[in-house]
Symmetry: C2
Subunit: 248 residues, 2 copies
DNA sequence: CCAAAAGTGTTTCTCATACACCCATGT
DNA sequence: ACATGGGTGTATGAGAAACACTTTTGG
């Protein structure tokens, strides 16, 4: 289907898009991946930010569309995308958003239902930062929620965070995709503290952590730090899966 | 937008539909609301079942569409519908489904993304059982999953049940929409046993139940039963909300 | 030697579980 | 009287939470 053909006939069509909330951890801050967007308003170009997202093709699986869109816009590949919610309120498209859709799609878009996907990644991952003229950047989640975002992308980010929390209960493995392959006990604990938004006792945490067979201590330690060097651990996916046979 | 106009031009469009999984409890069995569907195959009409569902309008909220579709097809109103997942695999439309879409919509539908909604209701509720030529009926969930259902509706039902389980953890209030206003301890316990799919100790359950302020014992008892009469309880929504300040 | 973070055990309490007998009512 | 389901308390164990000092390293 060619949307342009339809719009030239003056017909509005229902569109389905996917929006990707990609989260990354650095030090003690959680970041989200955003794209800078320029909109012409009375001759002036105004910039704001949006989540990476785009229309799905007619014959495309939802999950495939999410991966494709993310890759096209940011160059990020092979990230496990998790569907968490669909958004379709009538008021999710502002006047500015409508204008941007018109400019960038040359189409008469009336309603836009979007399926939200969330992914957790390592922030060190290289991005095609100017892919297709888009400026891609990591923004701390707390700041992003205070910014002027496109559509209802603030809502989408908030819902994505909720989904991650719920999911981490059921399947903690997703959390390790946020950490580097080798991580310290502190990093892991800070991640849990962020996700569950509360302080965790150091000793109790270590105790629980050590009785998880899938967290393996390495014989490697931090280097050049101005205090006692912390040990590194790694996540063993095979042992993790074994430990969860019979769950769910 | 008029989909027929598009299909006459030979264009396929992306459609978005909602499908409603309405669950109801009766005695110790959970039922799901299905609609009988007739499909012509080589001149013979073959019947199978589908979930109540339909296309959303161009300017409609997703949540509104779910309520509307359910009401149009079954006459059920004012049920709290909860969105739980979107389904958009390419293989969710079989040949028979495609034929049925053609017949009932007179449209050239290529792909169909559907948003799944789940609602819990009281099974006693009156239904317009033959609304718009549709036969609407309650089918025990276990049986429904063994039947020949349209599209990927089996998957949708399974996912809906998962969603209800997860949701009941976070917010048990939804469970009380399955029960009559006045219920016995046995009814409540059986509901929990069904949702969590395991036996629950009578005394431990009662103990926990009694320390929930929002479950109020009434001075009413069963009548005319061939054994000691069970006490009735009711769910107090106000106390429930109060007890959950600061959660989430 | 001082600052900064790592590492390490024990006690207490709460909550989940397991379990058996008497009571009220209709037939 | 008997069959049927309603109603009740206690003891045990596992896991969560609270809590403070010593160790290592660089500056």
């Amino acid at each position: 289907m060619n949307p342009n053909a339809l719009s030239k006939l003056g017909l509005a069509v229902n569109h389905i898009s996917v929006d990707c909330v990609v989260l990354g951890l650095s030090d003690s801050t959680l970041y989200v991946l955003l794209i800078k967007r320029g909109v012409d308003e009375k001759g002036n170009t105004i910039y704001d930010y949006k989540l990476p997202g785009g229309l799905i093709y007619t014959d495309e699986d939802l999950d495939d569309a999410a991966s494709r869109v993310l890759q096209e816009l940011t160059g990020v590949r092979n990230l496990h995308m998790m569907q968490f919610k669909a958004f379709g309120s009538r008021d999710r498209i502002s006047e500015r958003d409508a204008q941007w859709l018109q400019e960038s799609l040359d189409d008469n878009v009336k309603a836009l239902v979007t399926i939200g996907y969330v992914a957790l990644g390592r922030i060190g991952r290289k991005l095609n930062l100017h892919n297709a003229g888009n400026e891609v950047c990591w923004v701390p989640v707390n700041e992003a929620l205070k910014m002027d975002l496109a559509f209802d992308h603030k809502t989408i980010i908030t819902e994505a965070l909720k989904a991650v929390r719920h999911n981490a209960d059921a399947d903690p493995a997703v959390l390790y995709t946020l950490l580097p392959a080798k991580f310290t006990a502190l990093q892991l604990r800070m991640l849990y503290e962020f996700i569950y938004n509360k302080d965790i006792d150091v000793r109790n945490f270590k105790k629980k952590m050590m009785q998880l067979a899938y967290i393996e201590p390495l014989n490697e330690y931090e280097q050049g730090v101005a205090h006692r060097a912390a040990r590194y651990y790694r996540f063993n996916r095979v042992k993790y899966k074994k430990s969860r046979r019979g769950t769910e």
